[in-house]
């Protein structure tokens, strides 16, 4: 699989260098659609899960930390656990489950229905028309959704803290003390890497279908499982490299 994946990535990179002006416009239309589906339509779900997660984590943490008089460490939990680790991970998993499945199924259908061959016959590189916009769309969407997740999580974390009697000013001081510029860069980097992983694995397995429609669900499963494994490995690498 690794050889095939490397060829796939290399073909995608080569396709990007061959983009004509007209090709860019066509790609842009597909890209906008992809962002609408992957980012815009997922915002409600991401915001809802961010709010629930942050509320639960902060409520539990305040209660437990309060017993040891360590409420000031709440910022570390908010920033390190929620914003730095769980936020990107959960956001990427939401994108895998909503858009990764769609990308893999769509690509596999494109292949089975002869649409990929038809594109090539028209002189359109399928990597430009199908893969590149989904790759860019996934990167932009994951990064955007991570920012949304962080913002909602912060707001929800404050609500949880406020219900335990903490003032807004104290909550912000505790959180901002731990939050650094590195967290912003990490969010951006994770958005790029996680988004690339989702689009790459799902597109690769979708386009790898050969035999017929019965292979489509298998391709979706392979795409999703590979993406999840890649996201967890990348997450571990980020911890190893960036801490």
């Amino acid at each position: 699989m690794l050889g095939g994946l490397a060829r796939f990535v290399s073909r995608t990179a080569r396709a990007a260098t061959r983009l004509t002006r007209a090709g860019r416009w066509v790609m842009l239309r597909v890209l906008i659609n992809q962002i609408r589906f992957t980012a815009l339509q997922a915002m409600g779900l991401v915001a809802f899960l961010a709010a629930i997660l942050a509320f639960l984590v902060i409520s539990q943490s305040i209660h437990q930390l309060g017993r040891f008089g360590a409420v000031n460490n709440l910022g570390t939990i908010m920033v390190v656990a929620v914003i730095r680790e769980l936020g990107p991970l959960l956001t990427a998993l939401i994108v895998v489950s909503r858009s990764g499945t769609a990308i893999a199924a769509e690509m596999a259908t494109n292949r089975v229905m002869g649409e990929v061959t038809a594109l090539e016959a028209m002189g359109i590189d399928p990597y430009i028309y199908l893969v590149l916009p989904r790759m860019l769309g996934a990167i932009i969407s994951v990064a955007t959704l991570m920012v949304v997740f962080d913002a909602v999580a912060l707001a929800s974390g404050y609500v949880a803290a406020a219900t335990s009697g903490m003032s807004y000013n104290r909550f912000m001081v505790i959180v901002l003390r731990t939050l650094s510029a590195k967290d912003v860069w990490l969010t951006l980097a994770k958005g790029i890497f996680f988004g690339s992983a989702v689009a790459t694995f799902c597109s690769y397995h979708g386009l790898a279908v050969k035999a017929g429609p019965t292979e489509i669900p298998q391709a979706v499963t392979r795409g999703v499982v590979s993406s999840i494994v890649a996201i967890f490995i990348l997450s571990a690498l980020f911890v190893a490299v960036a801490t």
Partner: protein, 243 residues
């Protein structure tokens, strides 16, 4: 290098130009079936000729369209489009060279997530530097010519087989190719629809005759009158010369 087209230019790659005076399509000693010592297929499609290649399912006829577009390399012999051995071109140049040939693949090859109108517009949007207005004008003209106006907004799955075939044909001739290659274009169509489709394929809007190479299992008498040559293929070779 560019090729004149209505209101703009077709975006073509560098280096590969058609050989002046060369016929649109030439097959030389091509093995359609991988059998040692098997028959070879040779055929010349001259400018303006309408050639029907008739053959059963496993006669090798299914490879003829793909060979013409360079979608598969000939296992032996050569296939030349406008004097250029198409399958030997580097991939990026192969893609742009293919825009000189129209292609209606088996089934129809329409993209399922686009409307019929967007399917027709796709090669114009991707492969030309036409302004948006010019593309829309050309698409409107094709929609009108191929009687697609009432169904232009439908997705392929919502349209009838005949409508899909007409949309695929409109897409195939959108860039005004000098030859179109049709794979079993009349399957499931009435004689009337098949005759109209072949008529559209063999003539440009200005009345100029266009070369057509079509593959089919059987050729109805009404269609036989419209073709300039019939080639019967069996076991990978020609068993009947053009009339």
């Amino acid at each position: 290098m560019t090729q004149p087209a209505a209101g703009g230019t077709i975006v073509l790659g560098k280096g590969v130009a058609p050989v002046p005076g060369a016929p649109p399509l030439v097959y030389r000693d091509v093995a359609l079936l991988e059998r040692p010592g098997g028959r070879r297929f040779s055929l010349v499609v001259e400018e303006g000729a309408v050639i029907a290649v008739v053959g059963e399912e496993h006669s090798g006829v299914g490879w003829i369209g793909r060979l013409a577009l360079g979608l598969v390399p000939p296992p032996s012999g050569s296939v030349e489009a406008f004097g250029v051995p198409i399958a030997r071109l580097p991939y990026s140049e192969l893609l742009v060279f293919r825009r000189r040939l129209g292609y209606l693949p088996l089934g129809d090859g329409l993209l399922q997530n686009l409307s019929l109108k967007d399917n027709v517009a796709l090669p114009l949007r991707f492969a030309t530097d036409h302004r948006l207005r010019e593309v829309e004008d050309r698409v409107a003209q094709l929609i009108e010519d191929f009687r697609l106006r009432a169904i232009a907004a439908l997705r392929p799955a919502q349209a009838t087989e005949e409508d899909r075939r007409r949309a695929a044909m409109a897409r195939a001739v959108a860039l005004r190719p000098k030859i179109v290659v049709l794979e079993r274009p009349f399957d499931g169509l009435s004689n009337r629809a098949a005759t109209a489709l072949l008529d559209k394929a063999s003539r440009d809007e200005d009345g100029t005759r266009r070369a057509v190479l079509l593959t089919t299992r059987e050729l109805a008498p009404s269609l036989r009158a419209m073709v300039t040559g019939v080639v019967r293929v069996a076991e990978g070779g020609v068993v009947e010369d053009p009339k």
